[in-house]
Symmetry: C2
Subunit: 405 residues, 2 copies
């Protein structure tokens, strides 16, 4: 097997202590409660190093001791767990017709999940950012009232996000060249915590890899739905970003040159066939009678209700949408060979009716036998993008950097 | 920016010496001639560590000293270079109508490039493997006669290759479930050196990243041509393999449901539109008059000659093929956001006539502005797959493991 890296890193270069702190934190996150001796035995770090790191992490209130436990051999050991109390991280997401905020503690436990109706497609980017900032401020207020320090905030946008946190293009929102991170920092008056921006798809796959039904999978794709379709890709355990951070754009995969027109000017793109607006338009022809739909979630609820009643038009339409979806997933399976493709958002809500057709199309279209082992599943996560944003905001601490202040 | 890894590695675990050896070898490869002090200064390794590693690498004849040079300050330093003499690595490739063998030394310099006419599509897998083994034996004989030890051999197959070196499917060759690495080892009577197998596309992008016009790029795709079309993908500096090693399958990207039929049973797949057999069929309708074509390279030469004469039918056909190719590349640009997509094999030979149409289609179809910075270029490498195989066979030594024996 070949594995090439850009730069082999010498092992006595760089901040060894930071790397080792990350190892200890990760071990406790995955195996708590555990003792200092457990950590040393399982990570290969020597006992003195572990003791010194644990002392520092307890001082910073990232770890805490939780009493004694009989060891199998020898004297009782003090057990360690993550300290869930002092810190929180926030994630926000611009959804189809809502803004979402999620806060988690260091262990990834949800502290709050808020949804606020908001039709971002009908207002200016600045109005949306003001509404996001207002939601963020309330969430910060809530967690700081609990005595927590906010470590960071990450916003998920359905579109292209560059490494500076600017959005060159988010077609589904009608955005072009919006400096989201910079504007949010200004509106929030340069807060102490980090403010970052990423694509909803990247954040959702991060949540999926940490908290979802396929947590720990090293080759995973999350297909986000909603206003458009995006792919968050984890390959060999790492988020695939590409040269400029734009990887995972799948909305305009050309599937059917004779298909419906797409906002991009072409026809039959994946998004124009299976995105939430396309699904509503296809299955509820009356929905646009009073003008363009901006309230998608009630329409989605109507579709689910009709499907549950075995409405033949809706069920037939969903099978057709499932086939298009399956063809798109087959392209992902061929190119990326993921272990699992997880369907989020409206795809998850409609999964009982989409999955049979999508799976059989995946099997028929993917080139490798058995689709290269790729399974297609519905996400079990709620608000994956915002949860992923909160998870991402923990990354600095999880990488072994100590919280500021 | 989020970067998640499967397992943070504690820095005092694992074989530090192996990692540091890799760092020293890489530094010398990129910056030779250089002194021990240069290595220490540039890598961050301490001087005693560098001295000890260099002594060991000289003993193994991986490095050699090359006299003294005046330093800018202080006494003259002994300069080090890679020792090109004692070792060789081999790469083989099953091409459209030929077998190719390449041998390189430790510095990646070519020691031999052999092409042997061979129509693998017309014979059994075992016959092809016997012919490959015969070619390998002759190449081994040649380099051992030069006093070199063979470090390894890697074979590129145009199809799916699993981590054991077996080929579950190579449609272009008509292969299914062929244990290529195991059979080759048997035919070669269990040689001392490693025998590995990978997809031609993976090996070609490895060669491209090491030796090509875009060497060092961390987000790079090589699109191999020949009997089929495959994508070798380097993302964030690493080969993208997927869960079972099947990533990069792009031959059956559905581009035109009304297009020509494909061996896979569907219509208008990328390979059925732009693969070498499709190109010959499209541009030289007389080529199949005497039965199926198995000699592709002379037909390719005829196409190039006609295009040079501005033959309107051939030039028009190449522009159309270029447009299909550009649509395929746009999908890669959207999903992977590479810095460069490099066209190999027959695409490179036909590049002057394919590229204008392919580039304009890429610009029109990719969603990110300016195709996300993705450039589309012709490869400047000859026999990239075999060269990549030879490069891959150096990987163990480059990763810091000492040669056996």
């Amino acid at each position: 097997m070949i594995s090439i890296h850009n730069e082999p890193q010498p092992s006595d270069l760089g901040d060894v202590r930071v790397a080792n702190r990350a190892v200890v934190l990760r071990h406790v996150r995955l195996h708590s409660p555990c003792s200092r001796a457990d950590i040393a035995a399982r990570t290969g770090l020597n006992k003195a190093t572990v003791s010194s790191l644990v002392t520092e992490l307890i001082d910073q209130r990232l770890l805490r001791e939780t009493g004694l436990t009989e060891n199998r051999v020898g004297r009782p050991a003090t057990m360690l767990v993550l300290d869930g109390e002092p810190y929180a991280a926030l994630g926000l997401q611009i959804g189809a017709d809502e803004l979402v905020a999620v806060a988690v503690d260091l262990g990834g436990n949800r502290l709050l999940t808020w949804r606020r109706a908001f039709a971002a497609t009908t207002v200016s980017p600045t109005e949306t950012l003001r509404a996001l900032a207002a939601l963020a401020r309330r969430a910060v207020g809530r967690v700081t009232a609990q005595g927590r320090t906010v470590l960071g905030l990450t916003v998920g946008v359905p579109g292209l996000v560059d490494p500076s946190g600017a959005v060159p293009l988010a077609s589904a929102l009608g955005w072009r060249d919006v400096p989201v991170a910079a504007q949010l920092r200004t509106i929030l008056r340069e807060p102490e915590f980090t403010v970052a921006v990423d694509s909803v798809a990247n954040l959702a796959v991060l949540a999926e890899q940490r908290h979802g039904g396929h947590a720990g999978s090293s080759d995973l794709v999350h297909l986000t739905g909603g206003l458009t379709v995006g792919a968050g890709i984890i390959a060999a355990g790492r988020l695939l970003r590409g040269g400029r951070g734009f990887a995972g754009e799948i909305a305009h995969l050309p599937l059917d040159p004779a298909g419906p027109s797409c906002a991009c000017g072409h026809h039959g793109c994946l998004s124009a066939l299976v995105g939430l607006p396309a699904v509503v338009r296809r299955l509820l022809p009356d929905a646009e009678a009073d003008g363009p739909v901006t309230d998608y979630l009630p329409e989605l609820t109507r579709i689910v209700a009709l499907a549950r009643q075995d409405d033949p038009v809706v069920c037939g339409g969903l099978a057709e949408i499932g086939r298009h979806l399956g063809r798109g997933v087959a392209v992902l399976a061929d190119l990326l060979n993921p272990e699992t493709v997880v369907l989020g958002d409206h795809f998850a809500a409609l999964a009982p009716w989409l999955l049979p057709a999508a799976r059989s199309e995946l099997a028929a279209r993917a080139h490798a036998p058995g689709a290269g082992g790729c399974r297609l599943e519905a996400s079990t996560l709620d608000t994956a993008g915002a949860l992923g944003g909160a998870t991402a905001a923990l990354a600095t601490v999880e990488a072994g950097r100590l919280p500021a202040g």
